[in-house]
């Protein structure tokens, strides 16, 4: 049944594409037109995905794809082609187009070898104005590296939190909450491979090493049809390809970690590679501290903790039409504790990701990317005591294959189509308990398989100089055991140019999510596991409409965008109070289901040209959820509408990057948001417990939490400042000073009630306490490139 409807939907997709192609063919009979195509690369040979290739005189242009490829149909004749990318000098080239032409374009990095954002961004902003794509934010690592960062650790996910419509989960954390969606509703990709847990250390740092990343695109709405599987956003991270010209070593030494990267050409520039590693060194200090105090009475040793990650990318050009890419990632967090009483505890978690992609160009108008990938996330927790051992673990492993076609039949159409298939293995819980003498020997393994497939097609159609439309359909299906689900996800967007400097845009997208994060805390914990749609757990669904206007101001130096959105979802998941989420063979019964809706307005002013660049964003937003009484529970808050913790009414961000001289950059960012919501007890009672449970009356109050998220913390605001000072004759080294929370604001991390006791240890009252996490934190990082 599912697949007969799937076949009908596929037929519909194919028909749409064929009709669109035919339409385009008819339209293109106006005169001779040719296509210029090729690759945009940086001066080190690295592809520049997202680079703008435009002919301003015709108000037409395109953006390079994830491999730096572009194809731009143009009428025959003379044209001035302008190519631009953030962090690179703009390239202008004169063309006399008399036939299809292939161009390999190389952009020079602006400034110096370490790079900075003195950009010729006019074309970039103009391309953004003219794109049908709404709700997308591109961030290059060059921008992120200049901005001040907590502990000096450049973090692209935290930088994305400075964009409008994106909220953080809490002080210092990398979690993204996009337009009212939760953190598990983000599709995080690295070179098209899925990243299940993008965090280190409970979300304080992301897994992306800034030395290995080229750029990241964040889609908040109007999702292109090639993306699916999550409801709220797509975080598309592209790794650097490595220098094709010469061997280069880069690195950095920071407050809590160091990085080292080696890159260079393969076979005289036919390819390149990059290998990058990063490791923290908390554990070196804590071990020294523990050793110094090992004879101190009552000293509690500090547990060991560190994380590391390795990135690898290699590419090789097999011929004029074929190129292969290999991407790898391995990251682990390791936590250990040995108590003097003989209790050993170890806890490790992390991702392992690999992907291999083959790019084949059939012609100037048609090329295909085909890739296979594997993504694994797991945690293992073990403890030992005497002859006894106990182990607990969970993992999710995906094997994926996908192919993506891109076809440019003429200058009116850009057609995309593809297919994707993923085999999931959900190791929901694995438990082992053993004793050396064999008397205790217990094991349990709760795991499920899942199969996830998708077909998609889309057409970006330029109806006229003023009107551009993009339509897409994505057919998805999921199977776990005997449970099958599927759906058709229509996508659409439109742009209408009122003038060369003003565009109106609108978009619609439907999304399904077939896997669900099992978490019941406000933080990102490594023990959070993924669970498939099966039995009573149906796929989550969301729809979003958005509309907006963009204005190019100040001779193209500024882009002002205002977007309004409304998003609504059903089958949203949460968990009953007191849910048991660990190694529960009946985990299905712990879910509860509800609906969500969110709406807001995002105002965004960008400047990407000149010595002073940056942006100002302001978001006014509302998020709501409703979980009716169900499954023997009162739902959430007795079925009344409630606001999730990340609902923030106001969110203002100001980011400024200023180049004072070739050696000196100043940067600053300011953020103000409404306080996050939290749950506080309203009442309390006393409890004695059964006879024989304690001596005397238990003085500890039992808190009563009638409703979730009923209290709002104080507004959050913070100013971060940074200075990047380049040293060395070739400016190939720098010292980066970051001052996090420059005016030492005591932002609220959480609030609790402390007992007030008299001299006899009797509780006489309670005092509310507010805990802040990070005061002002200066940090200095040394970066080099040789």
């Amino acid at each position: 049944m599912l697949f007969s409807s799937a076949a009908r939907c596929l037929l519909l997709v194919v028909l749409v594409v064929c009709v669109a192609g035919f339409w385009g063919s008819v339209w293109s009979q106006e005169g001779p037109r040719y296509t210029i195509s090729g690759t945009v690369r940086g001066d080190k040979g690295e592809a520049l995905p997202g680079a703008s290739v435009a002919v301003p005189a015709l108000s037409t242009g395109t953006a390079a794809d994830s491999l730096g490829h572009f194809a731009l149909p143009l009428p025959a004749g003379r044209h001035q082609l302008v190519v631009a990318f953030v962090g690179y000098q703009q390239l202008t080239r004169e063309l006399n187009l008399t036939r299809n032409q292939r161009l390999n374009l190389a952009l020079e990095a602006s400034g110096n070898e370490l790079g900075e954002v003195v950009v010729q961004g006019t074309v970039t902003l103009a391309a953004k104005l003219k794109s049908t794509q709404m709700g997308v934010e591109r961030l290059t690592i060059r921008e992120a590296k200049l901005l001040p960062a907590l502990f000096g650790e450049v973090d692209i996910l935290k930088t994305l939190q400075l964009k409008p419509g994106v909220q953080s989960g809490g002080e210092g954390t990398s979690g993204l909450f996009v337009r009212g969606g939760s953190a598990d509703q983000n599709l995080v990709l690295i070179d098209n491979a899925l990243v299940y847990n993008p965090n280190h250390l409970f979300g304080l740092f992301s897994v992306f090493n800034s030395d290995a990343v080229q750029s990241v695109d964040l889609y908040k709405s109007g999702f292109p049809a090639q993306f699916g599987g999550r409801l709220s956003s797509v975080v598309d991270v592209k790794m650097r390809e490595g220098d094709r010209q010469k061997n280069v070593v880069t690195g950095g030494v920071g407050l809590i970690s160091s990085r080292l990267t080696f890159e260079g050409p393969i076979n005289k520039g036919k390819g390149s590679f990059i290998v990058s590693g990063r490791r923290t060194y908390f554990d070196i200090f804590t071990r020294a501290l523990n050793k110094a105090n090992e004879d101190t009475k009552d000293y509690s040793p500090i547990p060991d903790y560190y994380f590391y990650d390795f990135n690898l990318k290699a590419n090789y050009t097999l011929g004029k039409k074929d190129q292969v890419f290999l991407t790898g990632y391995l990251g682990r967090d390791a936590f250990g504790f040995n108590s003097p009483g003989g209790f050993d505890f170890k806890f490790n978690w992390g991702n392992a990701i690999g992907s291999l992609r083959w790019n084949h160009t059939f012609s100037d108008k048609l090329f295909v990317n085909t890739s296979v990938s594997v993504s694994d996330y797991n945690y293992d927790l073990t403890n030992r005591f005497d002859q006894f051992s106990f182990g607990l673990g969970s993992n999710i492993t995906d094997y994926s294959a996908r192919t993506d076609f891109e076809y440019t039949p003429n200058d009116r159409h850009l057609l995309k189509a593809g297919a994707q298939l993923t085999q999931h293995r959900f190791g929901v819980g694995r438990l082992e308990a053993n004793s050396g003498d064999g008397r205790v020997n217990f094991g349990s393994d709760v795991s499920y398989n899942g199969l996830d497939g998708a077909l998609y097609a889309s057409d970006n159609y330029k109806a006229s100089d003023k009107l551009q439309l993009e339509g897409g359909l994505r057919l998805t299906g999921f199977q776990s055991g005997s449970n099958r689900y599927g759906g058709l996800e229509p996508r659409g967007s439109a742009r209408y140019s009122l003038s060369n400097n003003t565009s109106l845009k609108a978009s619609y997208a439907m999304m399904y999510q077939y896997v669900h994060l099992v978490t019941n805390s406000g933080a990102s914990l490594p023990t959070d596991i993924w669970y498939p749609s099966r039995l009573s757990v149906k796929p989550q669904q969301s729809q979003q409409v958005s509309t907006g206007a963009s204005f190019l101001l100040g001779k193209g130096k500024y882009l002002l965008t205002n977007e309004v959105y409304y998003k609504w979802g059903r089958n949203q998941v949460d968990f009953r109070d007191g849910a048991q989420l660990f190694v529960n063979p009946e985990l299905d019964t712990e879910f509860i289901f509800g609906k969500s809706w969110s709406y807001g307005n995002e105002l965004y002013l960008e400047k990407k040209t000149g010595k002073t660049t940056g942006w100002i964003g302001y978001t006014l937003a509302w998020s709501w959820r409703n979980f009716q009484p169900q499954r023997g529970t009162n739902g959430i808050n007795n079925g009344e509408d409630f606001r999730p913790t990340y609902d923030r009414r106001h969110n203002l961000t100001v980011v400024v990057l200023h180049q004072l001289s070739p050696r000196l950059n100043f940067t600053g960012s300011f953020i103000y948001t409404s306080g996050s919501l939290t749950t506080l007890p309203l009442g309390r009672f006393g409890l004695q417990d059964i006879p024989g449970s304690r001596t005397g009356i238990d003085p500890r109050p039992v808190p009563i939490y009638p409703n979730r998220n009923s209290y709002q913390l104080i507004p959050y605001h913070r100013l971060d400042l940074g200075v990047v000072y380049k040293i060395g004759a070739r400016l190939n080294q720098d010292l980066t000073l970051s001052i996090y929370n420059a005016y030492n604001r005591r932002n609220a991390y959480f609030v609790f009630f402390e007992d007030i006791e008299d001299e006899n240890d009797r509780i006489t009252g309670f005092q509310a306490k507010q805990v802040s996490l990070f005061p002002v934190i200066p940090s200095l990082t040394y970066n080099f490139r040789f």
């Binding site: 809490g170 500090i302 005591f385 309203l682 009672f685 006879p691 009563i704 509310a768």
Partner: protein, 298 residues
Amino acid sequence: MLALTASLPTTPLMLHFIKSVGFAMLLAGLAGCGSLQNDIDVPLPSYSAELVVECYLEPGKVPSLAVTTSVPYLSATLPQVPPDVKVTLTLPDGKAVALEFRPNYAVLLDTGSVIKFYTHIGRDTLKARPGDVFKLDVRDTQGRVVTGTTTMLALVPIDSVEYKFNDKTGSERKAYFLTNFRDPSTPNDAYRVQLHKGNPAKGALLKRPETDISLEDQLVNGKPVVVGTSYRFVAGDTVTVTLYHTDAAFYRFRQSVRDARSANGNPFAQPAAILSTVQGGVGIFSVLSATRATKVVK
């Protein structure tokens, strides 16, 4: 306390450990950066007090229970004892017994008391056998009514108890203790295992236990279960194991109380509503089903 068991209950402990240590680690690194904790005024929404019932019936004991009221969290008052509450206990044979309002306030002032506080108490000792159903009805003059029903579960025998010493000498020579029993094949069983040190005849079983472990049978249904301790007993200790066989509702109530207490001050805590076993108020109504075994560590 360390639990060594072939069952799941250690996992919440470890999760708690992870969260606590993780958070402590974060704070420890920042402790030197000035005060990160300050007093604030929190205007909490109004809160309506509820009746709180705590009743553990024991075979062979006179039934009693404590009825109090909850109070707004930040108020200075202690939980109140309402004087206008009538309590009726319905026995398995259908006979309704009124429990008299006769609070033993004196134990509230005795920090060393091993007697539990009660507000209402019966006259006769309770007869209860596995399978017996008891009902409770609590109502005050304001119209608040709390009801509950509980069934006495089968006694689960303790198969064996044993201990083992570590390799150390002198005062560091200590033993851990193992309790072995088999979970019946029925689903949704839960247990509470307490170990008391001392002479039971001298009231040792009424004092604070050495260990107190709760577990469910989700992963060990119908299988042998081993519950252990850390190295904490020395030669000469008299150790008594009490194995309570409880239902899932009792287990979840205790877990919810623990979660609610730990949620106050833990930013990683999950939502922590109290999962009462009574209706119309807050609290627990249960009949205890306990087996015991005593062993002297030599």
